[in-house]
Amino acid sequence: MIQPAAGIVVWLGVSLVVVADGRRGQAVGIALSALGLAVLAFVTAGAVAAAAIAAGGAIAGARRFVSGPAGWEILSPGSTPRLVLCIVTALVAFWVADAVTSGPVASVRFAVITAITLSAARVLSTAEPAAQLSAVAVVAIGVASAGAIGSTDPAVWPYLAGGVVAAIVGWLPLRSPSAA
């Protein structure tokens, strides 16, 4: 039961990143996504992989908690299409992970598909750098977790790299557009 629950936690977290416009909502979303993916990484790749994902997500979430638009701003006016996207993505991802594909890690497939798809959609749908970087952090740990699929003994490198990328991206100094 732990793996399906972790998959749902990942979906909840990344959905929060998608529907929240405030820094607190996004920080909790990153933390939930990282928590779910860390549990799945612990099951499939061991404690080091889980620690890398958890640390990367925790640093990214902590950074988001102190920077970006203030408040929670969950489901602000105009966010209905994003909510619908989250639900439809979950249904399609569940169908692909459980019915179209087979193998021992259906929860990982579900979690990775929802994390990458919804985060990429968030990057496309907003021009707010904080929201985009929150989504990039989730993409990083999602891509890292995809390494466990199709491998009986997944390497730890993708998890370490994913954790590092997720931890770093929130700290980059951003510059306003200017003439060349």
Binding site: S178, A179, A180
Partner: protein, 347 residues
């Protein structure tokens, strides 16, 4: 590390040294060196890491860094293409790896091809371009500098992961997308109003040849693709860098040097692009001869665009003239005797 990637890294490093040495005075050499060095280090990391998953994470980091540097486009606009590319590549890789019917692996191949196009900035995922943007912050950085190593790594590693059936679909899609980019890039480089956009489309057309070469799964196709990548790094990119000052000053000239540069850009003999085209035509005759006919017709589209781009170079003087002479000499040498390049890549 794939041997083609090592070779392209060395050529990219040489292109960076050339850019720093021969850049127009308006360009900041320090900025070129720092940003170019970061791009080169990222490309090296993409080639050196043990798995494609880690390479995608390096690409993601590189995309965020590129979006964060000062430029005329917003951070959001520049961040979207690399993130979408990484997303599609990762999902494509996932569908290739899972236990599922063959059709699912074919969908995975679609994701890999689409992600490759999005990461480099090819049709149907052209990155927005601003004429006034610095070279290092513009989409040309992906098309002309990071793209060659990235494409080789993605194609080589993806072909290793794809099952036979999906591998054929992967090659077919590369050829189809390559033809689209060749035709669109060739016509747009000729007809678009803006000179910077014309240069960008000429890169896109060259990338069409590369994709066709990768898609034609015979040795000559791979050889042709490698030579086109060489001509991008050691020909088109440095010529574009030198032409930027004339473009900014809106100067066009019709001197013999402009004609010679146009010939080099169009891939005529004895430049390296000619040998690449011959190899691609030979590869296509080995696979399916009508494809060679289509390729030959589409290759004619390089002529009008290249004449225009040659004129946009203006009249290079002093150091720039020396730089143009050096580029032409290297391209002639590689065109007359490409064997060392191919041997170094074990092709």
């Amino acid at each position: 590390m794939p041997p083609e990637a090592i070779e392209l890294l060395v050529i990219a490093a040489a292109a960076l040294v050339f850019a720093v040495a021969f850049a127009p005075q308006a360009a900041s050499r320090r900025t070129l060196l720092v940003r170019g060095g970061a791009g080169l280090a990222g490309s090296a990391a993409i080639a050196a890491v043990p798995t494609l998953d880690v390479a995608l994470l390096v690409l993601l980091m590189l995309g965020v860094l590129h979006a964060a540097v000062a430029g005329t486009r917003s951070f959001a606009t520049r961040l979207r293409p690399p993130v979408i590319a990484v997303g599609m590549l990762a999902l494509g890789l996932l569908l290739v790896r899972v236990e599922a019917p063959d059709l699912v692996a074919r969908f995975g191949a679609v994701g890999l091809v689409a992600g490759l196009a999005a990461s480099i900035g090819l049709l149907p995922y052209l990155h927005p371009i601003e004429p006034d943007e610095a070279l290092t912050a513009s989409p040309v950085a992906w098309l002309g500098f990071i793209g060659p190593v990235l494409a080789v790594v993605v194609v080589v590693r993806a072909q290793g992961a794809l099952p036979t059936d999906a591998g054929g679909a992967f090659g077919g899609m590369l050829v189809g997308l390559g033809l689209l980019n060749m035709a669109w890039g060739g016509v747009a480089a000729w007809l678009t109003a803006d000179e910077v956009a014309a240069w960008r489309y000429s890169f896109v057309a060259d990338w069409g040849l590369v994709l066709c070469g990768f898609g034609l799964t015979v040795a000559d196709g791979q050889r042709g693709a490698l030579l086109v990548l060489f001509s991008i790094l050691a020909g088109r990119l440095p010529l574009y860098l030198i032409s930027r000052q004339a473009i900014r000053e809106k100067t066009t000239t019709r001197r013999p040097i402009n004609l010679v540069v146009a010939a080099a850009l169009a891939g005529s003999a004895p430049f390296v692009g000619f040998g690449a085209r011959i190899l691609l035509l030979r590869a296509s005759t080995q696979i399916y001869w009508p494809l060679a006919l289509v390729l030959a017709v589409v290759m004619l589209l390089w002529l009008p665009g290249s004449l225009r781009l040659g004129r946009s170079l203006g009249q290079p003087r002093r150091r720039q003239a020396l730089g143009v002479a050096l580029i032409l000499a290297v391209n002639v040498a590689a065109g007359l005797y490409p064997l060392p390049l191919l041997a170094a890549a074990r092709l």
